[in-house]
């Protein structure tokens, strides 16, 4: 790239990626390969990996050492926590959430998938679809990750067999259909030697006409679904300018959904007060409009009794603030959830008290099939619950909007984050 292009700050769009895989399917190798082949690994990092690999007595370069950053991980040779890596291609800027597959897998996968525009799910070509694969697909569906790619890895160990690849791809597509996942893309690769990762598989798989994994990722549409739909702007902070030059108050927040325009008639919820948008700005720069997920400051034609946690909606598009929720929970804490639990719930910029009603059912991790949950929900369980909240929430179903349909549950005493929640219905 030319220096001019490097400073061309508008060029690449950002794609958030989550990689899901189990212990031996070569996920760390794939990530090492992605970073290495897109030239993100610096010489001193590679030197360090070489150094540690040889000190440990391993003959080969252990690319997993690039991502396993914590002392305990390196000592035990396992990945504990989600790691975030960046890499850049000429066409796209990627943030990759590397989600470990074995320890705390549900919690880690949900964490990585919650912000992902796409997931890359790894399957070992020799093993084919295993229980973990079904769980990964189910999580991707549950979290509504817009794009799911499957990298069928270790193709070199099945002699790049077209029949084997098709067999796995067909089984995956059937599973995806059953879960209601949209078009599933399968790509044959060998992370170990890099075939099919950055460059197309070429002579190794003349039967495969598709582009490489990275090209697939560069081609994925970023549809900005949240920029459409009704406006939801949770107020995070009220700016009160000092002195005569500051003008009136600004209401600061990140647009969770939709687009806000100067001249919009808006209503502040839950108070129901109405006003007209007079300014959409950031540090003195004025805009006609701004769409999700931008952070902006809004001016209104009158001062409203608006405070943190309130939500600006367009008049006519505002939902009825809800006190009762039905939701899917991913329970993330050692202490199990019991009916009647009193917790804190954070949704948008609002934190409110919540009481868990009934725990209706637990979901089987591979199929999302509901089963009875007589013992409540334990660590890494998924389930359907009802909740009652003290302050009404301006919420949408998660199926309509990830930003306004998601919440977390927090322990009122020690402030631990207990669960990730996805709203099914709010009333």
């Amino acid at each position: 790239m030319e220096a001019g292009a490097l400073l061309d700050h508008d060029a690449p769009a950002l794609l958030r990626l989550a990689t899901l895989g189990s212990v031996d399917d070569g996920k760390s190798t794939l990530i090492g390969r992605l970073l290495h082949d897109t030239r993100q690994i610096a010489d001193d990092q590679l030197e360090h990996v070489r150094d540690v690999s040889s000190r440990r007595g391993g003959g080969t370069l252990d690319l997993a050492l690039l991502t396993d950053g914590l002392r305990a991980e390196r000592e035990q040779g396992i990945t504990i926590d989600v790691a975030y890596r960046s890499f850049l291609t000429p066409r796209r800027r990627f943030i990759l959430a590397d989600c470990p597959g074995h320890e705390q897998y549900t919690r880690n996968m949900v964490t990585g998938a919650s912000t992902a525009d796409a997931t890359v799910l790894l399957v070992d070509a020799r093993q084919g679809v295993v229980a973990q694969t079904r769980r990964h697909l189910a999580i991707a569906e549950l979290l509504r990750v817009p794009h799911v790619l499957v990298a069928v890895n270790k193709m070199d160990l099945v002699d790049w067999s077209e029949a084997r690849f098709n067999e796995i791809a067909d089984e995956l597509r059937a599973l995806a259909d059953g879960l209601g996942l949209p078009d599933l893309v399968c790509v044959p690769i060998s992370a170990l030697d890099g075939t099919g990762v950055v460059e197309p598989a070429g002579v190794a798989a003349p039967w495969h006409e598709g582009p490489s994994l990275v090209t697939r990722l560069e081609d994925l549409p970023i549809d900005g679904a949240d920029a459409h739909g009704p406006l939801r702007l949770p107020v995070q902070w009220v700016i009160r300018p000092e002195g005569e030059h500051g003008g009136g108050r600004r209401y600061a927040g990140r647009i969770a959904r939709g687009t806000v325009r100067v001249g919009d008639d808006v209503v502040a919820l839950p108070s129901g007060q109405e006003a007209v948008v007079t300014a959409v700005e950031l540090l003195g720069e004025d805009f006609d409009a701004a769409a999700a997920p931008r952070s902006v400051s809004i001016g209104l034609d009158r001062e409203l009794d608006l405070s943190r946690g309130d939500v600006l909606c367009r008049v006519g598009e505002a939902p009825v603030p809800a006190r009762e929720l039905t939701a899917t929970l991913c329970w993330m804490h050692e202490r199990p959830l019991q009916p009647g639990a009193r917790l804190l719930l954070k949704h948008g910029a609002r934190t409110t008290r919540a009481i868990v009603g009934e725990i209706r059912e637990r979901l089987e991790l591979e199929t999302l099939t509901p089963v009875a949950a007589p013992d409540g929900l334990g660590l890494n369980d998924l389930g359907h619950v009802t909740l009652r909240v003290a302050d009404p929430l301006v919420a949408d179903p998660y199926s309509e909007c990830r930003e306004t349909g998601a919440f977390v549950l927090i322990d009122d005493q020690d402030h631990a984050t207990l669960a990730a929640g996805m709203i099914i219905s709010a009333g």
Partner: protein, 307 residues
Amino acid sequence: MTITALDAPPLSALDALEAEAIHVMREIAGERERPALLFSGGKDSIVLLRLAEKAFRPGAFPFPVMHVDTGHNFPEVTEYRDRRIAELGERLIVASVQDSIDAGRVTDVTGPRSSRNRLQTVTLLDAIAEHKLDACIGGARRDEERSRAKERIVSLRDDFGGWDPRAQRPEVWDLYNARVRPGEHVRVFPISNWTELDVWRYVAREGLELPSIYFAHERSVFERDGMLYADDPLIERLPGEEPFTTSVRYRTVGDMTCTGAVRSEAVTMEQVVEEIAATRITERGETRADDRATEAAMEDRKREGYF
């Protein structure tokens, strides 16, 4: 009047990263009683100041700016700090390692290979206690170092200031849990997901001024362990370490005793960015002695309460 693309996402990577960082800062302002923004004079904390302006102007920052001063700063950086904070009209707290030494809180280290890098942790934790801070916003990035890649954007510290990597709160969507119990605080990293190149691009886009030492200049330096150190009375040279003058720039800005310069002729931002894109060595690997000590040097210091 600028027109923001109405219904034409995707945002550029910088716009997306900026929106995320502003959101994080406003969440901390909303959820914590007594935050502070940690400022080192380096490019990352200069970007933080700009993001704070975007988050809170035309109002004042809802937190003071705090500099942990080792007393071994580059004079260009101290000058920049005072000028920039005055321009912004914000409040500056200087937490001084020299004061900690004078008060007997820490013992100064001397000798050719001494650095006050680790002493900063005590000064920082004392300042957090003195000012009753419950959140410290810092400019650390995940691409800098292995253990940072695993750290949350909003990261809990216990009442010893320590980080427990095995007891991190899950961080899902953009719903940050910044709640603390008495004595605890959170470290907050709004530019976690930025890379060195993103930072430079943002500096260029926003037209931000950087301390002059980021650009190539003639300096008297000496070589140690493959790094170039400033020839300055603060750093005791070993036998055979002869100073010489050459054109260098700094890639990171920290304490003079542990920050190395790189040979460079890059005097403009374009030239610096070109060099960074071409380099095969990370910024901390090239210029920070403090990270070279052991395999998990950064993780160990973070467990003790380091930035």
